[in-house]
């Protein structure tokens, strides 16, 4: 059975910080949304949780590109994560969740899996 997903409105454009990230709370937990105005597409969303420390900090990392790949560096132990695939560049075996993200008028929407309880209820 295909998991049900939905497009949640998580914040407004004005909440975003150019060249950097903000954290939003979703049904799927904390997500980091990045806005890189010099790129196309300019929006990226990945898990906010740093897999190495378990702490919710990735939105507060520095963004950039490594060999052309858009990345964020964890503010704690400095590993880089691809904003496109969630792959950790320093460790083959580690990758984090990514989320489709889009701009709808002045709202930012994320495609998140519907929460367990809701699926059950439906």
């Amino acid at each position: 059975m295909k998991a049900r997903t939905r497009w949640d409105s998580v914040c407004k454009v004005e909440d975003l910080v150019p060249e950097s990230g903000v954290a939003v709370w979703t049904e799927d937990g904390p997500v980091a949304v990045f806005y890189l105005p010099h790129r196309l597409p300019a929006l990226f969303a990945i898990s906010h949780t740093d897999p190495f420390s378990g702490s919710n900090v990735l939105a507060r990392g520095i963004t950039g590109d490594i060999k052309g790949e858009p990345v964020v560096a964890s503010p704690l132990y400095k590993q880089h994560f691809s904003l496109v695939t969630g792959q950790c560049l320093e460790d083959q075996d580690v990758s984090i969740k990514t989320y489709p993200v889009l701009l709808d008028g002045d709202r930012i929407r994320l495609e998140v899996p519907a929460a367990q309880s809701e699926t059950a209820a439906a």
Binding site: D15, P30, V57, R60, A73, P75
Partner: protein, 837 residues
């Protein structure tokens, strides 16, 4: 097996080095070690004796510490001269008692030769060998005009420089027809003489002193054999050294014809249980009056005592390179061309003041020796040719011709054989360096740490860097100063681009001078450069995304994603009222509190959204940000100083507060720490700081480039007895020069070690203003001081900036679910992974 007793007579440079070698080897277990030193002071660096007049103290020059001796169970007897050796009983005698030995090491060095001239016993006739001698010279020079050095050799010229630095009219009287007769030839000596006279030292050659009598205008008068005379207030004899072999003579050991204790290749004397090393020892009919051969003997003996049968001293190279009164002089190998058939190649540029001479073998294939005066540029290359027997190019003269006249470039590191000695102080070969690189060292710093190369006199620094760079390149390691893949520039080059082109944003810089979008290496570096150049608020919109999280949120992120808060407490002085506010705030937000090493209070465990609220309260109580998160000034630690302490001689707290207020907020390549002590007891530990200030009776002594932490480094004495104004001006210059020229994340210690010319160069730039930058550096600092703002004050007052501190932008009340807490010692702390798992 009970331990044997090993006695070392003489606590000089070589004796100390021997102990270092022995105690770090297996043989340390076998021996109880006793050391007798005639001097009152622990072994010190005699090679740099003259720096004592430049402000260095015994502590600066000391080779070890009393603690080191104690830690290694060495029974140290200073100020206790050994007066006799009884070889049958195997005992030594001092005025304090008689001691048994199983093995005895003589490291008694040498003593200055004072020629038998009538009147030489006059109290103002002195010598130049020990710190005590220098104290006598200083006392004697007090309030008088003229000083004479007898002897125009290496040491004599150094002594003349010392007299000059004491403000005397200095003269050098030499018996031979030229200066440095041992090392130089007639032309070289003449050029050196000319240069030295230009510096204001008068040189008198071919003068034999017949007697010293009372002077008419000065204390003394020297009469010469040619009936001329010279009036002077004091005389320093520097007419050569003689091996201190008295004990060996009186106990019947074999002695050389002209003195010196005869040793074999294992540094053992004619008595198998007595050994001799350093300047007192005679090997192959030769005395070695330099420290490096002494160190080699010390290593050889330590290995032999460890049972190494191969250990052997096989002679030493006596080539020297130095700056005498600011004039380069170099002498290599057979400088006088005494090898049969040797041929000379000379280059003499009187205009430029360069004299160069090469001595080559009969077939013109190998370099036997060389002399350089005026410019030691070719020294390293020539030395490597001579030491390693590298075949000379077809026209060897190109090695000493200026490049404009077809001179050859310096010998590339590739041409050196594996056995080439790169650092003679620590006996490191090119092979050792390659070994260190193969074992994982990947930069100059780690090679230095691993091999100790270039940590002695530093003379080989440039050569070492070349070898390391070339070897790294060969192994495919790109030796690039580029800061990262986005900018083909070093931090210093970026600084210039920003400054010169007036660049104010990262986007402009990367568009015009870089490529891609930047990364976590170049962005914070550029942010710091922009802050230094323009000092705009770090949360100005363009700068936000450049910063490390700690800079962005102006607090230090801890492992669970919360932050610590560190308000500034200048000089560590705080009122009870402010302390109470810290306590109340901590209680309200349930923050873990701890006193830091920098004399202030850390509050841990604040969430992102709590930060502005907490700072609002702290600012209302008069606190400012402590910049604990930034690459900038941390704290200026202080002791209570003269206000309370009975030893204090200056108000260290007042000065610390002044300095902290002045430099707070200064952005720099790495953090900066300072301290001020109220007297030499140094309770504030200033000598482990980037900038250390210690009060003296007359003002302040300034130390620079110290470091604690992972790689401790004792700070260097930089200037003495400064007034308040001089102190601040000097610190302004040092800091600004550091901020402008250091690489990203380079602490002052590493920066200084990597500056070409090191401490001396820094002194020239800062104290003598050799680059003419002094004013500019001061003005730049002044403008930064003038535009200081407390970043937290600006942030809490600006609603837009406060928006950044929302933990989840769409759920203001949501608490971060991963932060779990427990209580320990009555305070809240995070649950550790090991506990929650």
């Amino acid at each position: 097996m009970s331990k044997q007793t090993l006695i070392v007579i003489g606590n000089g440079m070589v004796g100390h080095h021997f102990l270092e070698q022995l105690t770090s080897s297996a043989a340390a277990e076998r021996f109880d070690i006793k050391v007798f030193g005639e001097e009152k002071l622990l072994a010190y660096d005699r090679v740099h004796l003259s720096e004592y007049f430049g402000g260095s103290t015994h502590a600066d020059l000391a080779m070890g510490t009393a603690d080191w001796y104690a830690d290694n169970n060495i029974d140290l007897h200073l100020n206790e001269q050994v007066t006799a050796i009884d070889r049958d009983q195997k005992t030594v005698t001092t005025p304090a008692g008689t001691y048994d030995y199983d093995e005895l090491v003589l490291a008694t060095g040498s003593y200055p030769f004072v020629p038998p001239i009538k009147g030489n016993e006059h109290p103002h006739c002195l010598v130049y060998r020990t710190l005590e001698d220098l104290d006598s010279i200083r006392a004697s020079a007090n309030g008088v005009k003229t000083g004479v050095v007898v002897g125009g050799g290496l040491l004599g010229l150094e002594a003349a420089n010392a007299l000059k630095s004491l403000g005397l009219d200095a003269h050098v009287v030499e018996f031979a027809p030229r200066l440095m007769p041992v090392q130089l030839d007639a032309d070289g000596g003449a050029l050196l003489r000319h240069k030295i006279e230009e510096l204001g030292v008068q040189v008198h050659t071919e003068k034999a002193t017949t007697e010293i009598v009372e002077g008419e205008d000065s204390r003394l008068r020297m009469n010469f054999s040619d009936d001329s005379h010279l009036e002077t207030d004091l005389i320093v004899f520097s007419a050569g050294i003689r091996p201190q072999d008295t004990l060996a003579r009186t106990s019947g050991l074999e002695i050389g014809e002209r003195g010196g204790i005869v040793i074999n290749d294992q540094c053992t004397t004619s008595d198998p249980h007595i050994h001799a090393i350093g300047e007192c020892a005679l090997w192959g009919g030769k005395i070695f009056g330099l420290v490096a051969p002494g160190y080699t003997m010390a290593r050889t003996l330590a290995s032999a005592l460890n049972g190494d049968r191969e250990a052997a001293f096989t002679g030493a190279d006596m080539s020297t390179k130095l700056k005498l009164l600011g004039v380069d002089v170099g002498s290599i190998g057979d400088a006088h061309g005494q090898t049969p058939g040797a041929r000379n190649i000379r280059f003499n540029d009187e205009q430029a003041g360069h004299y160069r001479r090469m001595v080559v073998s009969e077939d013109g294939k190998t370099l036997l020796g060389a002399i350089l005066v005026g410019d030691n540029g070719p020294y390293d290359t020539l030395l490597q040719y001579a030491l390693n027997g590298i075949t000379l190019p077809d026209s060897p003269e190109t090695l000493i011709l200026p490049e404009s006249e077809g001179g050859a470039p310096a010998l590339g590191p590739d041409a050196l054989p594996e056995t080439a000695s790169i650092c003679s102080c620590h006996n490191v070969t090119k092979g050792d360096i390659c070994g260190a690189i193969d074992a994982g060292c990947s930069d100059l710093g780690s090679v230095k740490g691993e091999t100790k190369a270039s940590t002695g006199c530093g003379g080989c620094a440039a050569l070492l860097k070349n070898v390391v760079d070339s070897e790294l390149e060969k192994r495919g390691v790109e030796v690039s100063k580029d800061i990262c893949e986005h900018f083909p520039y070093s931090r210093q080059e970026l600084f210039h681009l920003v400054k010169v082109n007036g660049v104010r944003t990262f986007q402009t810089l990367i568009r015009e001078h870089g490529k891609g979008h930047g990364c976590d290496i170049c962005k914070p570096a550029v942010a710091s450069i922009l802050a230094t150049c323009w000092n705009e608020h770090i949360l100005a919109t363009d700068h936000v995304p450049l910063q490390d999280t700690n800079d962005t949120f102006m607090a230090n992120m801890q492992k669970n994603g919360t932050y610590s808060i560190v308000p500034r407490v200048p000089g560590g002085e705080i009122t009870p009222d402010k302390l109470i506010v810290l306590g109340e705030v901590a209680k309200e937000y349930n923050l873990y509190t701890k006193i830091t090493g920098g004399q202030r209070v850390d509050l841990f465990g604040a969430t992102l959204s709590e930060l502005p609220e907490i700072w609002e309260k702290l600012i209302a109580a008069g606190f400012e940000t402590g910049h604990a998160y930034g690459k900038s000034l941390r704290t200026v630690k202080s002791c209570v100083g003269s206000t309370w302490c009975r030893y204090g001689v200056q108000d260290s707290v007042g000065m610390a507060i002044f300095l902290e207020d002045r430099y707070k907020g200064l952005r720099s390549p790495h953090k900066i720490k300072m301290a001020v002590s109220g007297c030499t007891r140094e309770c504030a530990e200033a000598q482990s700081k980037d900038i250390g200030v210690i009060a003296t009776e007359n003002g302040w002594n300034l130390y620079v480039c110290g470091n604690g932490g992972m790689r401790p480094r004792h700070a260097d004495l930089f200037a003495t007895d400064l007034s308040d104004e001089e102190l601040v001006r000097t610190i302004d210059r040092v800091l600004m020069f550091y901020v402008r020229t250091a690489d990203r994340l380079q602490r002052t210690s590493v920066w200084m070690e990597n500056l070409e010319g090191g401490l001396d160069y820094l002194k020239e730039v800062v104290l003598e203003d050799s680059l003419g930058l002094g004013r500019e550096l001061e003005e730049h600092m002044e403008s930064i001081v003038g535009t200081y703002q407390c970043e937290w004050k600006t942030a809490v007052e600006d609603p837009e900036k406060r928006k950044r501190f929302r933990e989840f932008v769409n759920a203001p009340d949501k608490k971060d679910p991963v932060q779990q807490w427990t209580t320990e010692r009555d305070q809240r702390r995070p649950v550790l992974e090991t506990e929650s798992a």
